[in-house]
């Protein structure tokens, strides 16, 4: 008799064959996909090199002339054996390359090089590299720099501080501007200017009395005040939302302070003329308890309107016959008068700024004088320009080639003066502000490329100016 032995049925055989073939397909598939991804990474590497080439080409064109980098989207060509832009894209092998140039500010451009290619039927590969190119060749040598838009300054934005009191002086540090007003509440404002198009007040303070001048250094703002019991007020500004007065200094006598300057932990204040000293040198290493280092009496009529300290000398703008007092402050305990310089003409000095061995003096006869003080004992005026009105305040920028002025001129309150040639300063740009009034204070920040004004206008005490197109 036959016995049934167990065996594979056809179904089982088919099943095992199909399972096996599935495994084979999966295995081979893995290998093939691995290979494809290897090819893709190679393709991407070559795309990156091409994108780099785009940036390098931009750099070479910039080296030739910054103006070669005109804004927009371009392709590259080597026609005529030089790099130049042509069309809106260029094609190499399987790659399409586009170079976009965008303006960052007057001296910087952003270069984006994007390379795209068809990776496979459905997917597009893309590599995008970005760099920034600067107009590094700007202020070179004796030739005047190509003027960066400041020949046509424009109003950008403003802030209305409550009340009718005038904006008086302004300082800028980092992303914040510090505005003082001649009274009102508040009379000290911290303004976030990181977006110059829409500044905003982050913190404010009402000071005792009225501030006359301000100097910002590090975490502190130093205020020259008309309060004779606290001529120097020190405000902690480390928290822009909550400034607070941390210390004051009462200089001997009852004259108000007009000017203030700080170097490191030493503050210099100048005062209205009195029987007491006009220049005080104060140790502010401990802001909560400033202490006197030394003082100097400037003599009859020697009011100190404003002060600038350069190296071992302090320069004081005064309405006296001798408009510029030069004081040796190398020994703070006993400052000594180097010289009292009588600049040509009999008009008062209102404001002062300086850099290196150059002093810029704004005077009441509508002029701005550039004074060489490389020999502090014998200053000499190298050049003068008539700006048509009194200069209230001066800010220096563009590697000391431009002076920004706040003036009393009703039709050109804001002025820009080219001082790159000390013997021939010239007004290169003016701006008429809406409304009638004057600009009292000015500050300039190179990073933001903006000028900041403190004005007498009731609804725009703080103004921001930008370079023209």
């Amino acid at each position: 008799m036959m016995r049934h032995r167990p065996g594979f049925s056809l179904i089982e055989v088919l099943l095992s064959v199909s399972v096996f073939s599935l495994l084979v397909v999966a295995f081979i598939g893995t290998l093939l996909y691995g290979q494809e991804s290897l090819v893709l990474s190679g393709t991407r590497n070559r795309a990156t090199v091409l994108a780099e080439e785009g940036l390098e080409a931009g750099r070479n064109m910039r080296d030739d002339n910054y103006t070669n980098l005109f804004n927009g989207t371009h392709g590259l060509t080597t026609a005529g054996n030089i790099w130049s832009f042509s069309g809106t894209e260029d094609i190499t092998d399987i790659y399409t390359r586009k170079i976009s140039i965008a303006q960052v500010d007057s001296t910087r451009k952003q270069i984006t090089c994007e390379v795209t290619w068809q990776q496979n039927g459905q997917r597009t590969g893309r590599v995008s590299l970005v760099t920034y190119l600067t107009n590094w060749n700007l202020g070179s040598g004796a030739t005047p720099p190509p003027l960066p838009g400041w020949s046509q300054p424009l109003f950008q934005s403003s802030i209305d501080a409550s009340g009718l009191q005038d904006g008086l002086k302004v300082q800028v540090q980092g992303n914040y501007a510090y505005l003082i007003r001649n009274g009102g509440s508040p009379d000290f404002l911290i303004i976030d200017v990181s977006n110059p198009a829409s500044p905003s007040v982050t913190g404010s303070l009402s000071l005792n009395g009225n501030p006359n001048n301000i100097y910002v250094s590090g975490n502190y703002a130093y205020i020259a005040s008309d309060t004779t019991a606290e001529e120097l007020q020190i405000v902690n500004i480390s928290n822009p939302a909550a400034p607070s007065v941390v210390g004051t200094y009462d200089a001997t006598g009852g004259a108000q302070a007009f000017g203030v300057w700080v170097v490191g932990t030493t503050a210099y204040i100048t005062r209205a003329s009195s029987v007491n000293a006009e220049l005080f040198i104060i140790n502010v290493a401990t802001p909560s308890s400033p202490s006197l280092l030394g003082s100097l009496e400037l003599g009859s009529g020697g009011t100190g309107n404003e002060i600038v300290v350069l190296g071992s000398q302090a320069y004081i703008a005064s309405p006296a016959t001798t408009e510029l007092y030069v004081v040796n402050v190398s020994n703070p305990a006993s400052p000594s008068l180097t010289t009292a310089y009588d600049a040509p003409g009999g008009s008062n000095a209102l404001t002062i700024a300086g850099f290196g061995s150059t002093i810029v003096l704004g005077r009441a006869d509508n002029t701005l004088s550039v004074i060489d003080v490389s020999a502090p004992a014998s200053p000499s005026v190298t050049g003068t320009v008539n700006v048509g009105a009194n200069v209230n305040d001066i800010a220096i920028g563009y590697s000391n080639t431009l002076a920004f002025l706040a003036t009393t001129d009703g039709s050109k309150e804001f002025q820009v003066v080219d001082i790159s040639n000390p013997s021939l300063p010239s007004v290169i740009g003016t701006l008429n502000l809406t409304g009638s009034g004057q600009l009292r204070g000015i500050a300039f920040d190179q990073t933001l490329d903006r000028a900041f004004g403190a004005s007498s206008f009731d609804t725009t005490e703080f103004q921001i100016f930008r370079p023209g197109p």
Partner: protein
């Protein structure tokens, strides 16, 4: 009397079963060996691709980096092209630095030193071209272009992979 005929107790494969077994295992072995061959081929191909891509990028980076750090481009002259690149570099002992192709291998020669191969002997460097496309008074920029092909004397598919690399470098000053 002895019983004749087959014994029901003896088990054996029938011919059909044997044939079925042989054909099934044959098919299985065939598939396995094909799979193995394929795996080996893909492995070699992967190595070829990685070789070409990596050596290409490496050679390009060495050359662009040298140019970026260089003082001047000596050869080719401005608006010129050539198959060798000579630059003067800040390090005196390495100046001039020269890139050329010899026996289809890219070489770098630094100063008075002897040439050093940048690419391996398993890769052929062809169509090497340097174009000096600097503008007028600029520090200089050079465009580098070359093609890499694996050595493939037997014409096998695994070694068939050719890529062209194009890049540029501008002197930093």
């Amino acid at each position: 009397m002895q019983q004749t005929g087959h014994s029901p107790t003896i088990k054996a494969f029938t011919l059909v079963e044997l044939l079925l077994y042989v054909s099934l295992s044959g098919a299985m072995l065939l598939t396995l060996s094909m799979m193995l061959t394929q795996t080996l081929q893909i492995r070699v191909k992967n190595r070829t691709i990685a070789d070409v891509d990596q050596q290409g990028i490496q050679a390009m980076q060495i050359m662009t980096q040298t140019v970026r750090n260089a003082n001047t481009i000596t050869t080719p002259a401005q608006a010129g092209t050539g198959s060798s690149l000579v630059v003067t570099v800040p390090t005196g002992a390495n100046s001039p630095t020269q890139f050329t192709v010899a026996s289809e291998v890219l070489r770098i020669t630094e100063g008075a030193g002897s040439p050093v191969n940048i690419t391996s002997s398993s890769i052929r460097v062809t169509s090497l071209q340097f174009s000096n496309i600097s503008r007028g008074t600029t520090p200089g920029t050079v465009r580098i272009q070359f093609t890499l092909t694996p050595v493939n004397s037997t014409g096998r598919n695994e070694f068939d992979y050719q890529k062209t690399f194009i890049g540029s470098a501008t002197i930093r000053k």
